[in-house]
């Protein structure tokens, strides 16, 4: 990675302020995804919701905000879209209270 940032043990960004579009592209490439416009619609929706509400959103909310069907989100981010979106968008892992 050319941009030096800290991630936690699971690969989530340690400091939200380190995020940039350039970093997102690098993180995505490492995860085997080439980001296009459709990916960005989803990522921007997830970032906006997290910034407004303080928690990483579930896929149904991301789907509605980005006007991208959940099925399509699975095609854009195969192998666990909720985690991949959070990692690339630089927002915390979706969690429960325990």
């Amino acid at each position: 990675m050319t941009v030096a940032v800290q991630t936690d043990a699971e690969g989530y960004l340690a400091n939200k302020d380190d995020w940039s579009e350039e970093l997102a592209n690098e993180l995505a490439t490492e995860l085997g995804i080439q980001l296009g416009d459709e990916h960005w619609k989803v990522l921007n929706a997830a970032r906006a919701i997290e910034s407004e509400s303080g928690s990483s959103p579930g896929l149904r909310k991301i789907s509605k905000r980005s006007e991208t069907p959940i099925k399509a989100i699975y095609k854009l981010f195969p192998d666990g879209p909720a985690k991949l979106i959070a990692k690339i968008a630089g927002i915390p892992k979706p969690k429960s209270c325990l």
Partner: protein, 417 residues
């Protein structure tokens, strides 16, 4: 006469109405709007399916839970007009307000999942977040003779996020007592990456699932219930077969919020995390399950919010600035089965830590650790709910979280905070 109007008379709305009635002079009317004639003690729904709770003990007439000095409009809310400070209702003319408190909670939405309300609904597919669902599940469990029992959280956020795990643990205990545990495969399917998602909880509580022989299916986002073949199917085409499915369907806010500018995509209300004002508004507030906040959708949270928002409302009535007092504090018992429970205490910034509660270093209730005392305290809480929390009488627990007596170093070692 000035009016505080409260939408919803669940835990948050009812406690708030009582709190304000005590704090405000007779110049203020306290009014609530709720169409339902019954008040349900929701934690009881966890025990009812196993025959350990009765409808009579967990349901009361709404009128008896409100009381003197509180006006109850028994009707549905249709729309909120914040510009003119009016609430349209189904029966009668619009209600005007000086301050509005949205406490309309959340509801389960099985209709959002393909096939969930199909042929299997309440025959082999059950919810337990409604009284009817919990009663139907009780009947089904009493006839259950073994097979695959699947507990599935469809997506977050849900009410009482630990309840599905508790139900799984209690099912293990129930099936053991009935002598059919060895004939039953118990599966917990979650959209998250584990049954426990925080570092310390994963590290210290993973044993619960192993010891009880619960198989966990992670990152499972249910797209369809196929009742013909008795399988749930995820968006990435994985299948989990069941003989008896206990589903926790998606949750949304009240219908009038979903259709209005005040609700987000799921009908939850964008709320300031510390003042509880509806974001961008000065006279509208939101408490309880209806908010979009990352705090838990739980009765304890509603209780703490009522304490803090009632103080902030008095400031607002005096024309003063709101204070950012709410810290996301939550305090929940977690039933682990076999007569034991844990207690967890946390807020926006601090994950559940070990320690003692409510008196630091003394207890008597241990935090993040199984104990019989916690189980008995959870059962005793029903009395506290009806007689203390709901009528907003003083309960000696701080509305903000305290770190006193908590073992911080343990969290650091587990990689959490």
């Amino acid at each position: 006469m000035k009016t505080v109007l409260i939408l919803g008379a669940g835990t948050a709305g009812t406690a708030m109405a009582h709190k304000l009635r005590r704090k405000l002079s007779s110049e203020w009317a306290v009014e609530v709007v709720d169409p339902s004639t019954k008040h349900l003690y929701q934690p009881g729904l966890l025990f009812l399916p196993f025959g350990d709770e009765t409808e009579a003990r967990i349901v009361r007439d709404r009128g008896s839970t409100l009381g003197k000095g509180i006006t109850w409009h028994q009707t549905e809310v249709k729309a909120i007009d914040t510009e003119h400070r009016l609430v349209e209702i189904a029966a009668g003319g619009p209600l005007s307000y000086d301050f509005l408190i949205i406490a309309s909670g959340t509801r389960i939405r099985p209709d959002l999942i393909e096939g969930m309300l199909g042929a299997g609904w309440r025959k082999s597919v059950f919810d337990f977040y409604t009284l009817d669902g919990a009663k139907a599940l009780e009947a089904a469990l009493s006839n259950f003779e073994g097979g695959r029992l699947v507990v599935n959280v469809v997506e977050m956020p849900i009410k009482c996020p630990v309840a599905p795990l508790e139900l799984t643990f209690l099912a293990d205990w129930y099936l053991t007592k009935r002598g059919i545990r060895d004939k039953t495969e118990l599966v917990y399917a979650t959209p998250l990456d584990g049954a426990f998602t925080k570092p310390l909880a994963s590290k210290t509580l993973g044993y619960l699932l192993e010891d009880k022989g619960v198989r966990v299916e992670t990152e499972f986002m249910t797209g369809e219930v196929d009742a013909e073949n008795n399988v749930i199917r995820s968006y990435d085409e994985r299948e989990v077969p069941y003989d008896l499915l206990v589903t926790i369907p998606p949750h949304t806010g009240a219908g009038f919020l979903e259709d209005s500018d005040l609700g987000d995509e799921l009908g939850f209300v964008p709320t300031d995390p510390h003042t509880l004002a509806v974001r961008g508004h000065e006279r509208e507030f939101c408490i309880g399950d209806a908010t979009d906040l990352p705090s838990s959708k739980a009765g304890s949270v509603a209780h703490f919010q009522v304490d803090l928002l009632s103080e902030n409302l008095l400031r607002a009535m005096d024309g003063k600035e709101l204070e950012p007092t709410f810290d996301g504090h939550s305090n929940c018992f977690v039933e682990t089965g076999h007569g034991k429970a844990m207690l967890i205490d946390f807020n926006y910034d601090t994950e559940p830590l070990p320690g003692q509660f409510p008196i630091p270093h003394i207890g008597p209730l241990p935090l993040l650790k199984e104990a019989r005392r916690n189980h008995w305290a959870k059962l005793a809480f029903r009395w506290v709910y009806w007689n203390g929390l709901l009528p907003a009488r003083p309960i000696p627990i701080s509305p903000t979280m305290s770190l006193a007596g908590k073992q911080l170093t343990v969290a650091a070692e587990a990689g959490g905070a």
